[in-house]
């Protein structure tokens, strides 16, 4: 629907229909996600600023080096967080499939893919909860940083404060996303969308879920990789 002639442009803005060819709710979801992007952007950029303004910072490969059921003192950096990242990516794929099934009015496929997405979300939250618990037991929390900097100097609580705050906000978004998806599932199973004749609500929930995945891409890169 790219506008190439002036006739099409006049048509879109002539009134009586959405000039962006999307329903109101979808547009509002996009604008909400843009505002949320600035919120997370502000958090991450402030993290970057503080990190850049200090001489030393803990080495993430020394801090995040464990995984569930591993031996004490194991050194396996990036392993667990890779699993978490792939869980979220796959849950995003199942969400795309759910949206596509909704466009084809295929209730069964929508339900199945929503269930898979919900399972993926719960799996991610469980992993994040494990990571938090593990770090807590090593002495980390808001206001408590047991790790030293990569160069051996004393670190500040900035490291743990930022980690728990930002992953906490993200985890909260995942949680709300899972709850929204559960509500979507219930609405699908009770034929709400069949009665409406469209599954546009699933598309909006899909946008939110992909945003959650997108934020994780940035959070994971900033805290674990660079």
């Amino acid at each position: 629907m790219s506008t190439t002639t002036t006739a099409t442009t006049t048509n879109l803005w002539g009134g009586g229909k959405s000039p962006f060819s999307v329903e109101y709710g979808k547009l509002m979801m996009w604008y909400f996600l843009m505002s949320d992007a600035f919120t997370f952007g502000a958090f991450l950029i402030s993290y970057g600023t503080i990190r850049f303004s200090t001489n030393g910072w803990p080495d993430p490969n020394e801090v995040f080096r464990s995984f569930p059921f591993a031996a004490e003192g194991v050194h396996a950096p990036l392993v667990f967080v890779s699993v978490m990242t792939f869980i979220l990516i796959i849950s995003s794929v199942t969400m795309v499939l759910a949206v596509k099934a909704g466009q084809e009015m295929n209730k069964k496929a929508v339900s199945l893919n929503l269930i898979l997405t919900i399972i993926g979300g719960i799996a991610f939250l469980s992993c994040q909860a494990w990571e938090w618990n593990h770090l807590f037991h090593e002495g980390a929390w808001w206001g408590r940083n047991p790790f030293m900097n990569a160069d051996g100097t004393a670190s500040s609580t900035n490291f743990t404060n930022y980690f728990f705050t930002i992953t906490g906000f993200h985890g909260f978004h995942v949680l709300s996303g899972v709850i929204i998806n559960i509500i979507m599932l219930i609405m699908t199973l009770t034929d709400k969308f069949e009665k409406r004749g469209h599954y546009l609500m699933i598309e909006k929930a899909g946008l939110y879920w992909h945003f959650v995945d997108l934020v994780w891409v940035f959070v994971f890169t900033c805290f674990y990789l660079i």
């Binding site: 629907m1 790219s2 506008t3 879109l12 000039p19 962006f20 060819s21 999307v22 547009l27 996009w30 604008y31 843009m34 600035f38 952007g41 950029i45 402030s46 970057g48 600023t49 503080i50 850049f52 303004s53 200090t54 001489n55 030393g56 490969n61 004490e72 890779s82 990242t85 792939f86 990516i89 995003s92 794929v93 969400m95 795309v96 596509k100 466009q103 593990h134 807590f136 037991h137 090593e138 002495g139 047991p146 030293m148 160069d151 051996g152 100097t153 004393a154 546009l200 598309e203 899909g206 946008l207 992909h210 995945d213 997108l214 891409v217 940035f218 890169t221 674990y224 990789l225 660079i226």
Partner: protein
């Protein structure tokens, strides 16, 4: 994947596109992880910076694919794409300005605040770490 039919405004691509984008995202993630692992063995600061820069570029590519294909933005009306992408351009200034400022802050403190500079040269002994573990049950 531009379709010409009007009602295709809501659908974007078929299963093929979804599989293609999934594979691209997985490959980008794996490359990022490989770079991350590789970087662990590199000590040269400029080389590390180059690898970090590459990781950031890969991250931006992932963001593009998620927003364009999974969120269907690529298939939407051009004006809608612009109402999202143009304000997000603010991020270019946002990131540049704040990282530049942070760096400048560090340099100024190192130059004019002797306590700050000194603090960052004191090596913490291993014994001191043991004191800071309040709840170590595992």
């Amino acid at each position: 994947m531009e379709h010409t039919a009007a009602h295709e405004a809501h659908s974007g691509g078929g299963n093929k596109e979804i599989i293609k984008v999934t594979i691209i995202l997985s490959v980008l993630t794996i490359v990022e992880l490989i770079l991350g692992f590789w970087m662990m063995g590199i000590t040269s600061p400029s080389f590390r910076l180059a690898i970090k820069g590459t990781i950031i570029i890969l991250m931006m590519a992932k963001a593009f694919y998620i927003v364009a294909y999974f969120m269907h933005l690529k298939h939407e009306v051009k004006n809608l794409i612009m109402t999202i992408c143009v304000p997000l351009m603010l991020f270019v200034w946002f990131i540049t300005a704040f990282l530049w400022d942070g760096n400048s802050f560090r340099n100024l403190r190192n130059t004019f605040d002797p306590h700050f500079k000194e603090q960052s040269t004191i090596i913490v002994k291993e014994k001191a770490e043991g004191k800071e573990h309040p709840a170590e049950k595992k």
